[in-house]
Assembly symmetry: C2
Homo-oligomer: 296 residues x 2
């Protein structure tokens, strides 16, 4: 507990990545009430963000993986929380723009680090609200932050930031999660396509209803795959891999919104699924984690 | 994801320990609405519970650290969730009856393991409700389960099980938590003493209000110490240790309800605090953890 003058300091926070399996968009003019319902898994990897505030800094700089970025959710988080110029440096150990919620993890980690560096004395729920609102305002995410703030296999039963948004969880083990990244999908461009949104919302609503009848990891994976196919968001290549994983007894679907296949494995099918996926391409290995954000 | 017939199976779950710093009791005839507000820390140690259900078992047996127990929250959890006779075996790696919420961790872990072993398909919130109600009915706990189901440094802002109970969190690092156990306090006997309850509720309300004005770990420790002293729950020996830790720049208070001193240390004061505490007695070392319960 370093004791620091208000307005100066340094802090570092980690926020976990999150793969959404399916979702429904809930529009609202109030960004705290706008968001998505659905279900996804929080990973043991994510984004680490360092914030530095001292008198020598005269304007805010945000870096992501070493490069300066001029707009986005982290900038919005800084504007929402302080007038003091700060240096924010985020490093992601998951791919960006590929369905891992890296943007939300950056925003949430930045909020936690700012809170500590500047002694803002905000609670976890207030920081979650800030990051959620920043994501919605930037069109970069709708539900990741709510899941990332809790960890586990998170069912988002009501959309929005706390106290509007509500979650539940599927009781989970730290299952292994294997991913193959095929490419990016822009969250913003999908959200601007009204036909796509209609299909997403119809399929997302059906999936959540079915999941809540049997809230298990198996059911989550089945509903996610149905959602990917029904919405047409799945690429041909991703569908091929999903079916190949299924043929060796594994469960795979697509990370929303990214052209990324994710598979959840058990001890029983792990080696078979991993071998099969490695024949297709580079496999990224993670685990389901019930860790939320934390100062590091 | 082992596929098992309904009513047979084996599963193991871990639920974390929880140290309450201060609390206020909220009485209600409905055990889902009865509980406590307050604040406490979830630890990286806790209780591991194994559940076995198969046709050869003709009556339910509950073991705690190797000994058969004939009543308590775990029995109530079993009765609430199933008619099938099961073997439940809990092992705590924290002391029992000393303010570590071992009873709540056992009840919550049993609920998670039963859910998996018997394929009950309940969500995390439903299992949390079950364990909370079992604790309240047995008079063995009021708020531990709500905190244990989330992890971190948990502020219980509204009492009860979900959706009545509500929590927030102090954004946290994985601070080291050092404990000295002096003895047991019976939760049940304190709750039955109306004078003690009046003092607890008055001090607990003041502490929560003050904490919410500055929700930091430092403020949590200060409010916890005030609460321990004002309620008279602190033993002379515990107060001595708390003051000694304070004299070397550390922060300590009493684990509620137990005759246990806990100290939270930072990198800066860790060695000094630990050395000082080791002169007094056997020191147990834990960390604050944002892990909730999980299948293992």
């Amino acid at each position: 507990m370093p004791s620091l003058a208000k307005g100066t300091g340094m802090a570092r926070a980690f926020a976990p990545a999150h793969i959404t399996g399916f979702f429904e968009i809930h529009f609202n003019d109030d960004p705290r009430r706008m968001g998505s319902t659905g279900c996804g898994i929080v990973l043991d990897h994510g984004v680490e963000t360092t914030v530095v505030a001292d008198r020598s800094i005269d304007h805010t700089t945000v870096k992501l993986n070493g490069s300066i970025v001029h707009e986005g959710a982290i900038h919005t988080v800084v504007e929402m929380l302080t007038d003091v110029p700060v240096m924010v440096d985020s490093t992601a150990d998951v791919p960006i723009g590929c369905g891992f919620g890296a943007s939300g993890a950056g925003a949430l980690g930045a909020a936690y680090a700012l809170n500590r560096a500047l002694s803002l004395d905000l609670t976890a729920e207030q920081l979650t609200e800030t990051a959620h609102v920043a994501e919605v305002k930037n069109g970069s995410g709708l539900g990741d932050v709510m899941a990332q703030s809790h960890g586990g296999i998170v069912i988002r039963t009501r959309a929005g930031a706390p106290p509007f948004g509500e979650i539940d969880r599927i009781p989970a083990s730290d299952y292994k999660v294997l991913c193959i990244v095929l490419g990016e999908i822009s969250t913003k461009s999908v959200l601007e396509d009204t036909h796509a949104v209609r299909q997403i919302n119809s399929a997302g609503r059906v999936a959540l209803k079915a999941l809540l009848k049997a809230p298990t990891i198996e059911s989550f994976m089945i509903q996610s795959r149905e959602f990917a196919i029904k919405t047409g968001l799945v690429s041909e290549r991703a569908l091929d891999i999903i079916e190949t994983v299924g043929s060796v007894g594994g469960m795979a679907s697509q990370a929303m919104l990214g052209d990324t296949v994710f598979a959840i494995t058990t001890k029983e099918n792990e080696s078979g699924v991993q071998e099969t996926m490695e024949k297709v391409g580079g496999v990224l290995e993670y685990r389901v984690s019930s860790f939320g954000p934390k100062l590091v």
